[in-house]
């Protein structure tokens, strides 16, 4: 969508193509803000208004869970994807009397999973970081091979946040369980939730974590979906909210908005997906015709909303700033990591050299982007390449 932004006294029209970083809230949520001014009670209170808030929160829990066929009684609200993944990675397994355990995850997980498993390794556990194959996907047999007798937990992301690769987590999970039925399985579903089809109840997964602000909800809210008997201990201790699994007064406004957003997104699931696939296709057709185009997203099994590419000799950051001059917002990598120096961990499997990977740019779409916006963004990319493509770093 073209969004009107106001900076100082000037208003600009922007083309926002960084929807994997965060999305604009649905306009349908607006009403909740004013409603919240009279419905701000702590759901743990003992009086009527508190009870009302609690009921509404539980309705929200049901709505959010229903979208992927999860059981609401095993759904835990969190502050977002990072907290969800940290909780599961650090607390979602059987401790076995404190002995050394084994864990498996992938080399291209989001930092919230990756660094949690690094922490497990630092705590003395065996952690295997399995690489994706050249096709951009994690293969079930590779993961199964890494699983051993004392593997407590495996965590593989559903959709990669930079490349958009969709992993067949169900197949991976079954491969893990057939090798070791005791092993628990988590998938980071932040980029996948409501973007690709998924049925949690039918799957063999134990945990699935999601975030509200990627589906036009608000920041500061997310959820962990669990299976009934999957062991989970709290990461945050306190007053015992969320069945004791996530203490702290619930972010009711965020939760209500999450439910609203999930319901709308889910109702429009096919249309949304179709729209984004077509935008992605259009962008790919336009961009791949340009000189030096390098595709970093997988050729098949990709999410509808993410296109990852590079242009030879054009650093991603430079292209980003040039597009920014024309009011177009894209990303060079995950927003969470681009403030620090770039790491090539995510793209290592592509086999490209670092000077190509330095060019990595991610365009990510939402159902409200238009074909015209994509055309403008691609035109401006072409412009940028013409103006600056010849100044290569030596």
């Amino acid at each position: 969508m073209r969004i009107k932004y106001v900076f100082g006294s000037a208003a600009f029209l922007k083309i926002y193509l960084d929807n994997a970083a965060t999305t604009a809230p649905y306009s349908e949520i607006t009403g909740l803000f004013s409603e919240y001014m009279s419905c701000w009670f702590n759901p743990s209170g003992m009086y009527h208004d508190a009870l009302k808030a609690e009921k509404r929160m539980n309705a929200a829990r049901a709505a959010v869970s229903a979208c992927i066929n999860a059981a609401p009684e095993n759904t835990v609200f969190t502050s977002g994807g990072t907290e969800g993944s940290n909780t599961v990675a650090l607390k979602g397994f059987r401790r076995m009397g404190g002995k050394k355990l084994a864990f498996v995850t992938s080399e291209y997980e989001h930092a919230c999973v990756y660094n949690s498993f690094k922490a497990l390794a630092e705590a003395g556990h065996d952690v295997a970081f399995v690489s994706p194959r050249k096709d951009g996907h994690i293969h079930p047999e590779d993961i199964a091979e890494a699983v051993c007798d004392n593997t407590a937990l495996v965590s593989i992301m559903h959709v990669n946040n930079e490349t958009g690769a969709v992993n067949d987590v169900e197949k991976i999970c079954r491969a893990v369980k057939s090798k070791n039925p005791q092993t628990l399985f988590h998938s980071d579903g932040v980029q996948a939730y409501l973007k690709v089809p998924f049925d949690f109840a039918l799957s063999a997964l134990d945990y699935y974590t999601v975030s509200a602000h990627k589906i036009h909800g608000l920041k500061g809210t997310g959820a962990i979906f669990c299976k009934k008997n999957s062991p989970l201990r709290p990461l945050i201790n306190g007053g015992g909210q969320e069945n004791g699994l996530r203490s702290g007064t619930e972010n009711t406004l965020g939760i209500f908005a999450f439910a609203e957003a999930a319901a709308i997104y889910s109702k429009n699931f096919s249309e949304h997906a179709e729209k984004m696939y077509s935008l992605r296709k259009r962008a790919l057709e336009n961009l791949s015709a340009l000189n030096g185009f390098v595709m970093l997203s997988p050729e098949k099994d990709f999410a509808p909303h993410i296109l990852n590419f590079a242009f030879e000799g054009m650093r991603g950051e430079v292209l980003l700033h040039l597009l920014e001059e024309d009011g177009i917002c894209v990303a060079t990598g995950a927003a969470c990591s681009s403030k620090r120096g770039r790491s090539f961990r995510i793209h290592k499997h592509t086999g490209y050299k670092n000077d190509i990977l330095e060019g990595a740019v991610r365009m990510s779409f939402c159902p409200f982007n238009t074909g015209e916006e994509i055309d403008i963004a691609c035109e401006k990319t072409e412009d940028a390449l013409k103006r600056f493509g010849r100044f290569k770093r030596r």
Partner: protein
């Protein structure tokens, strides 16, 4: 409670002393103004009074950033005829020292001065009697006049002043006593330190920063504004010109030999800084260069860069090692900001093998293909300027076009 502010080097000044004093008292007043404190001139020191007790530490910290201030003490101010009260205050200072360091025993010394020579006791007597008073009150203390753990000071002036701590100030000369300089501020570790060192000699600062959008980001600009803000707590407000440098860099890239890129680029920086200096009446350029630190700071390269400007170029870090510079940066609190990892204009196009021994003749030859004046003119056309002071909000600073300044 009163804060004693002592000044250093301007003692040395002869007939000009009132001029330096005026600048210094102005700076001291400015520093304490936000706390509602007043400044009174005494002999060889200023007395700062009227701040709230809760603000005491903030006032002291503001004063430690004023150039020209030699040291600072928080003192009890008492009537000098009541000797027992003076001694009791001294004993209390001793008690506070013990409590602060959690010591069960320690040695101390009383040091006294009197500018009021009519006072019935001389300094030695005051110290001895006060020492005895303290010993009688604190059994855990003993006197050591050579290497005491701490000292208690008594000054007999119009009133009596008692304190235990002497907090070092910045030293240097009051701001404005030595004109204005133009600092080339990169965003790295060195240039803020260089600016600070020159400013400490009483020099007001303006600064130029070179940016290379789209190769550098808005975050890099933000970082430089933040550095200027940290510096301005010492140097006073800094007018920061943000020079659009990309087109110049690209022109050099296209038309000049690769190994000379950096030196030619730095010569452009000097020319631009000089023009900005002349336009804001600064009388020197200041850089953070240090001999041999990088390829562009070899003797030969410095010579080439130096020749591009005719104003004197001051390089206070010229003989310092990186480690020393880093320590200074930490002391003035610019270090943490300087090491934020945003690309700056100097690293955008780095030759693979820069020439470490460039010859001025060859460089000048290479520059002939460039429209030097035209490029500089065009750069100023797109450049921005802002004024950064200690209370600026770096994230919401007002930027104007340089040409409309």
């Amino acid at each position: 409670m009163v804060i004693l502010v002592r000044y250093g080097e301007i003692h040395l000044k002869g007939l000009n002393r009132p001029y330096f004093e005026r600048l210094l008292i102005h700076a001291v007043k400015n520093a304490v103004k936000p706390f509602g404190a007043t400044v009174e001139r005494g002999d060889g020191r200023y007395f700062v009074r009227g701040m709230k007790d809760a603000d005491m530490q903030s006032v002291v910290s503001a004063l430690t950033k004023v150039f020209g201030v030699h040291s600072i003490s928080i003192a009890d101010e008492l009537a000098k005829d009541d000797e027992t009260a003076v001694f009791a205050a001294a004993a209390e200072q001793a008690g506070k020292w013990l409590a602060k360091y959690g010591r069960s025993s320690a040695s101390f010394k009383v040091e006294s001065r009197r500018s009021d020579k009519r006072y019935p006791k001389n300094s030695m007597q005051i110290s001895a009697d006060c020492g005895e008073y303290i010993l009688n009150n604190y059994k855990e203390l003993r006197v050591d006049v050579h290497k005491p753990d701490f000292r208690v000071y008594i000054e007999i002036r119009d009133k009596a002043y008692v304190y235990a701590d002497i907090i070092p100030g910045q030293g240097g000369m009051p701001l404005g006593s030595n004109g204005k300089g133009m600092l080339l501020l990169s965003g790295g570790i060195d240039s803020p330190v260089a600016g600070y060192m020159i400013s400490k000699r009483g020099v007001f600062l303006d600064a130029v920063h070179f940016e290379s959008f789209p190769y550098t980001s808005e975050r890099a600009r933000q970082k430089v504004i933040k550095l200027a803000k940290i510096m301005s707590a010492y140097t006073g407000p800094i007018r920061l010109s943000i020079i659009h440098f990309t087109d110049i860099q690209l022109a050099i890239y296209e038309k000049c030999p690769e190994e000379q890129l950096t030196v030619i680029m730095r010569r452009f920086m000097m020319r631009i800084a000089e023009r900005a200096a002349v336009e804001s009446k600064a009388q020197c350029l200041i850089t953070g260069e240090s001999i041999g630190q990088v390829a562009s700071q070899t003797m030969e390269a410095l010579n080439c860069t130096n020749s591009a400007a005719s104003l004197p170029v001051f390089r206070p870090l010229i003989g310092m090692d990186k480690q020393e510079i880093m320590e200074r940066a930490m002391a003035i609190e610019t270090y943490e900001t300087s090491i934020l990892p945003y690309e700056d204009c100097c690293t955008v196009f780095v030759p693979k093998h820069p020439s470490t021994r460039p010859s001025l003749k060859k460089i000048e030859e290479s520059e002939k293909v460039l429209d030097v004046e035209g490029l500089i003119e065009a750069a100023f056309e797109k450049s921005l300027v802002c004024t950064v002071s200690a209370d600026s909000d770096p994230e919401n600073i007002e930027l104007k076009f340089y040409k409309n300044r």
